[in-house]
Amino acid sequence: MLRLPPFRYHRPATVAQAIEVMGEHAGDAMFVAGGTDLIPNMKHRLFEPGHLVALKGIEELRGVRIDDGHLRIGAAETISHVASNPEVLNRFPALADAAGHIAGPQLRNSGTIGGNLCLDTRCTYYNQTAFWREALGYCLKKDGDVCHVIRVGKKCVAAHSADTPPVLMTLDAVATLVGPDGQRSVPVRDFFVADGIVNSRRAPDEIVTELRIPLASAERKQAYAKLRVRKSIDFPLLTVAIAADLDGDGTVRSIEGVVTALGSRPHVLTGWGDVAVGRRLDDQVVDELAERAHKQCHPLENMIVDHEWRRAMVPVYVRRALEKLGAA
């Protein structure tokens, strides 16, 4: 049995009210949407806010619609709705694929797309009960000063473990954030920072209200591949998102690959354009791209599976994603 620490639950009706309530309890409150990440983390005493400000009941955060050349997805839309939305399925199949592979059905019914963007980083030494963590002497990310993954490390290396952000990056999605000082737009590719403790540029009093994906991105061939132990429930051990612009004869005009679940933020694979642009995605090019990915991906012991196996899976999953992309 894992009890939650005591808190008050606030259910504002609008974004403005949510920000006001957050302001009233500054420093002792957190926003919660689906709660599928935050609630277990609170049960593990990783967060103990005295107040939760709920976002899921806010109507203006819902809906998927086309407007001004973009597909606009309300941040409180559930993962289930995003995965099954016809516009998402038709235009951005890799996003539907990634969303449909998050956790299990019940978690997708509760979890939200905004929450997936804001998912806390994960680590074997962090996502544990308070008792477990105390027995080990805590860690850099929470309550301690030692990293158990890299003993001499001074920087937290907990892994970014969300499925949709790599895909959103390859589709040039932009997040809208609203806070006490107003609204701003942050491209998803600039949303994350290389710090496992807090890995996003969202301030604690800011709400992700919307994700906008340019409809032009629907022209790209897209694919997503995910490594995990079981085919359900598990967080990713590695994900690969790829998008490419191809000419009519299959010649690559541009290509981008993003991997995650390795470090604290998604990693844009470098050197892919040099390999593939002007060529077709034949076996030779696929091998070269997989090799490039393998060279620059170094999984850490921040998850409870063999990190060398995870590294060996990098080229395998890059190939699988490229095969999917070719078949799309």
Binding site: P6, F7, Y9, G35, I39, G104, P105, Q106, L107
Partner: protein, 168 residues
């Protein structure tokens, strides 16, 4: 911070309930410890295993990580609400006849996931059944008999077996 208590209003298995709970209670804690409905199980208690699955407005939901306030004003069906006064839910019959429950701990959650599936899809494929139950862990059966039972229940319902409980 000391725990405050407030009254939450929700509909559980067709009954309107007003119950005082600590403000940090989950839906599962409210069901088990405030309403005495212990059918929904407290397994991992952190959203991994699916033993606490209930049907919230038609959707299978993990009650152990759902703050009770998210269920306020909404309709909750637990395993206790599947059967009617007269007869078990066809799924319960089929689980019995197919030996789909062994230790039984995962069964209430699986029944809820399966009942929600059959509400949406009267004649699911084996693949759809597997997908619908992918968030429910069973350590005894190996799932085969569970899938068989859900198929049998779907067939029985297509042939007119009635669902008389709160979910019907």
């Amino acid at each position: 911070m000391s725990a405050a208590t407030e009254i939450v209003r929700l509909t559980v298995n067709g009954d309107r309930q007003e119950v005082g709970v600590p403000t940090h209670f989950t839906l599962l804690e409210t069901l088990r410890y405030a309403l005495g409905l212990t059918g929904s199980k407290q397994g991992c208690d952190k959203g991994d295993c699916g033993a606490c699955t209930v049907i919230l407005d038609g959707e299978p939901t993990l009650s152990c990580i759902t703050p009770v306030w998210e269920a306020e004003g909404r309709t909750v069906t637990t395993v206790e609400g599947l059967a009617s006064r007269e007869a078990p839910h066809p799924l319960q019959d089929a689980f019995d006849l197919n030996g789909a429950a062994q230790c039984g701990f995962c069964t209430p959650g699986i029944l809820c996931s399966a009942a929600a599936l059959l509400e949406r899809t009267g004649d699911p494929t084996r693949e759809q059944i597997k997908e619908a139950l992918a968030g429910n862990l069973c350590r005894c059966t190996g799932y085969t008999k569970i899938y068989d039972a859900v198929e049998a229940a779907a067939a029985a319902m297509q042939n007119g077996a009635s669902v008389g409980g709160a979910s019907g």
